[in-house]
Symmetry: D2
Subunit: 132 residues, 4 copies
């Protein structure tokens, strides 16, 4: 497992009538883990937004290997797998103990207030990829 | 049934692992019906927002009488039950044919961009309460 | 503030384009706090469900006093305000430090697998209302 | 544009505080279009579920090209791009008139009640891929 992860309990609002977590709701868990990863790295997404610098999701590839159920405790990892001039890619897993439920790659593009790509600020790039 | 209603199908994303619609998700259906009611009455909430006039929900009272399930077709009504200087109340039902599933009262307050109550514009009040 | 509360960060998925938390999403926070309250009291809702005993929401009264925003840390309280033969009422607040954002009463009805009201099991009633 | 599509209005509950539709919520729109596609083709997912035959999402690849906003009317297409023994792939777009906002591939696996892959029933396969 990647070094960084958050732990979450699965509630009713995560699930659907198939008895397991609804496929779109895992993307909320992934958002939470990416946000906490940034906070841990010292990146203040809210302040960046006030400065007109945003990260928007440009692509998600997500594999559903197994399902989480109501009451489960899951771990959601986040690590950076690639950084380019104006984009970066997260690799994330959702696990229930030793079982990998979800594997996902999410591409973030750095944009200005008009959704136009801009270079990721040097300082942010440094923080994102710093060792723990 | 009230004269105005929208019709919706229930999808997986509406439900939870109890096998029925998740209790918070009915509030999305209620929002949709109120929005469509306003559109039908000629009220452009988006334009009002651009003019710095917003309607925010100040209170919801909702009774869950029976449950909607995946695949159900439900009707969501909307009517105005009360109008005051800076607030108004919607009465809404969610029905599955003759069965009343949900009864709800939602209070909207008219606010400016700083969430301070303002008088509902006269023109809006007239449109909201006009006969069909 | 009530003795029992959970603490949560507000993420993008909680908010809407009004810039604040979407009105229905607070009900997810309320669910989470009620669930954690039950866990703390030693009540296993999942096991009760396997035994054919469910708690379903019959009514919500919720007052929206102020809004939570992206990045906020909020506290969500839960306490029992009333217990009857087959129903009980939670009183909950969502706070951001000293500010009360939300006040809500939620009525749970104890039902069997066919959504028919049944008496709340004596043991559950005892646990729910025990002094922490 | 693909022949089959549904049309939807974007409501507050679809959006986030970035001012546009939240990235996970497009997956709900994609679900709705796939469901309506199946209904149009004469496939009753609910009845299949009662017969112990389920389709679960095994993979999603989604590209976010541009954003939908509150009040937009969008079109959500659905077509089958590949069919195998126990899985099939949907190709879907979300458009706002001539603008492509979203492109997505979703893989469904046909499973039994224990989430074990089974062959897609011959009749279902025939209906899914039938012309109009």
């Amino acid at each position: 497992m990647d070094k960084f992860f958050i732990e979450k309990r699965i509630y009713y609002h995560d699930t659907d009538c198939g008895g397991v977590v609804y496929y779109a709701n895992y993307l909320k868990h992934l958002e939470e883990a990416r946000t906490e990863y940034c906070i841990k790295k010292g990146i203040d997404l809210k302040q960046l937004g006030k400065d007109g610098i945003y990260f928007v999701v440009a692509r998600v590839e997500i594999d559903y290997k197994a399902s989480a159920r109501y009451g489960d405790i899951v771990q959601v990892t986040a690590s950076i797998s690639d950084v380019k001039r104006s984009s970066l890619k997260f690799y994330q897993q959702i696990l229930r103990g030793p079982s990998i439920l979800i594997r996902a790659y999410t591409t973030w593009v750095c944009v200005d207030g008009n959704f136009r790509p801009i270079s990721i600020p040097h300082e942010v790039k440094k923080l994102l990829t710093a060792e723990s």
